[in-house]
């Protein structure tokens, strides 16, 4: 790090550094830092369509939310959706990575097939899956009917709408997480595995006692990405259900969007934003303690 002390060596005046940082910093201050504080401030106010100025109400918005059945439902949905998507897409992502962790031309094609959903917009994916899940005529129901389960109409049923959306999302996310596991696997020293094999360890044992522990930092990092990605989803709800049936598919970000832009309730939607920020902060904490952080950031 000593070699970095070139400020004195180059004899650039100190303001140079701030001039170089300024364009990026100004944007970040205005659109990342300021809005966080702004949300906190407005979350203590009553401010909705037709009001000239916000009115300070201290914690009323939060108290109202805690008592609201809809809000509780939304929080449960958000957590359930995260649980249904994060672990399955991590496990499948790791499984896919193990399957394609070898050189070769056809492997490239296979990796491509797993990863391509990540370069499609969520809105396009939702438009396509909406028809796949269509009642009776949709591909999913056709398979269900053929298997003797009958038409499910999954998007209209409050018990199946979240799992159905989760399946779609796992299909998209698993390939994305796979590439992180691939780079994690490739960083594992082949000699370690070889030595273990010579010592008589079988494939399963090698995986459990060597590969998996060595992948722990990758998994930790991947889990923070997966949680963040799952919390920031609203696009597919707008296209597929708009929260129906009866808010069974309303996720937190969609609720924020609805309160802010349909109900034009800025006080309440800012309180929801603060709750979202707390959620993101909690699930990003592992990033700060992770050893792996160095590999990815510094």
């Amino acid at each position: 790090m000593k070699s970095n002390q070139s400020l004195t060596r180059r004899k650039d005046p100190a303001w140079i550094v701030w001039a170089l940082l300024a364009p990026s910093l100004i944007i970040m201050l205005v659109f990342t830092v300021y809005p966080v504080f702004r949300s906190i401030a407005f979350s203590f106010t009553k401010y909705r369509l037709g009001m000239d100025a916000p009115e300070f109400i201290w914690l009323d918005n939060y108290q109202r939310l805690l008592k609201s059945g809809t809000f509780n439902k939304v929080m449960v949905n958000t957590v359930v959706y995260a649980l249904l998507t994060v672990l399955p897409s991590m496990i499948i992502g790791l499984g896919l990575a193990l399957l394609v962790n070898r050189p070769g031309k056809q492997v490239g094609f296979i990796r491509t097939s797993y990863f391509y959903p990540s370069v499609m917009p969520m809105i396009a994916i939702a438009s396509v899956w909406m028809f796949i899940y269509m009642a009776q005529n949709g591909l999913f129901d056709q398979v269900m009917i053929a298997l003797g389960f009958g038409a499910q109409n999954v998007l209209s049923n409050r018990n199946t709408v979240l799992p159905a959306m989760a399946l779609m999302y796992v299909w998209r996310e698993a390939g994305y997480l796979m590439v992180f596991y691939l780079s994690g696997l490739q960083a594992i020293n082949a000699e370690v595995l070889e030595a273990a094999t010579i010592d008589g360890a079988t494939g399963a044992k090698c995986f459990r006692h060597i590969t998996l522990p060595l992948l722990a930092p990758t998994s930790l990092f991947v889990s923070t990405i997966a949680f963040t990605n799952s919390f920031k989803l609203a696009d597919h709800v707008i296209i597929m259900t708009e929260g129906a049936p009866n808010n069974a598919s309303t996720l937190l970000l969609y609720y924020i969007y609805q309160q802010g832009f349909t109900n034009l309730n800025y006080g309440l939607s800012n309180a929801l934003t603060v709750i979202m920020l707390v959620l993101l902060l909690i699930f990003s904490l592992p990033r700060f303690f992770s050893q792996d952080r160095k590999i990815h950031y510094s």
């Binding site: 391509y116 796949i132 269509m134």
Partner: protein, 271 residues
């Protein structure tokens, strides 16, 4: 025994790949054949460009394409400048306040822009930038992802190079653009891939900021169409519209698949 294991791994991975391709195969097949009353995985009706023609004439796709391309290109060019300068500053100098700068950059990494739609919309309307292209781009013109990526890359460039340039009388500006930038080509490629795919696909923010055809992006246009009466249950048309908006990026990905996947890993985030 070894061979059996190898073949079963290959068979399983191919089987899964085919499963993963089902939605794409259905989408492309449906978009490019005559509309049918019954949905089927593989097309049963003859090839036709009817659906594509219908949606191309119904939706102002030309306009939307132009808007999205403008946004993607201008955003990238501005990010290229802002992130190069900031990345260089963080790679080369130690200074008072550095920790604070890192914290601010980290904030952008853990807080996705979509989460801040409410307060940012308020700011944007105070700036009078609702329904403008600048409004869509503005929050993204300083990119934490790009800064980290470039800083990392600049750090690996031998310092002697900068010192030699300095001795030869190069200004700081020349050192950055003529010595450092050309040495970090790979990082710029990754950053370009991530930036372009993010902004091509971005939906929520452009949806909120725009309210006219003049500024709407491809994704916003698709969503409007998919929810409109004309599209109701017309899956052939929605598939055709979807194909039109995903085709460029998907083709680029199929050609440059390795570059794409490496870029997503090295960025570690989708902005």
């Amino acid at each position: 025994m070894e061979n059996i294991k190898k073949y079963s791994i290959t068979a399983l991975s191919v089987l899964l790949a085919l499963m993963w391709l089902i939605p794409l195969v259905w989408l492309v097949g449906t978009a490019l054949t005559k509309a049918s009353f019954n949905m089927s995985f593989l097309p049963t009706t003859p090839f036709s460009t009817e659906n594509l023609e219908y949606v191309w004439n119904t939706i102002p796709f030309g306009r939307y394409y132009l808007n999205t391309i403008t946004l993607v290109v201008v955003t990238f060019i501005v990010q290229f400048f802002t992130s190069t300068l900031a990345g260089y500053a963080l790679a080369m100098y130690r200074f008072k306040g550095q920790a604070l700068v890192i914290v601010i950059i980290f904030m952008q990494i853990i807080i996705p822009n979509d989460v801040l739609i409410i307060p940012n919309f308020m700011t944007l309307s105070e700036l009078g930038l609702i329904d403008t292209k600048l409004g869509i781009m503005l929050p993204f013109l300083g990119s934490a992802m790009a800064i980290f990526l470039l800083r990392q890359s600049f750090k690996t460039i031998p310092r002697a190079l900068a010192e030699a340039a300095n001795i030869d009388g190069a200004t700081l500006w020349q050192t950055i653009w003529q010595v450092y930038v050309p040495c970090a080509k790979m990082a710029y490629m990754s950053f370009a891939v991530i930036s372009v795919s993010y902004h091509w696909n971005n939906y929520l923010w452009p949806l909120i900021v725009t309210n006219s055809v003049e500024n709407r992006t491809l994704t916003v246009g698709l969503a409007y169409f998919a929810k409109s009466k004309e599209a109701n249950m017309q899956w052939a048309n929605v598939c055709a519209a979807t194909l039109i908006i995903i085709a460029p990026l998907l083709l680029a990905f199929f050609i440059l698949q390795k570059q794409f996947m490496n870029s997503f890993v090295s960025a570690g985030i989708k902005e």
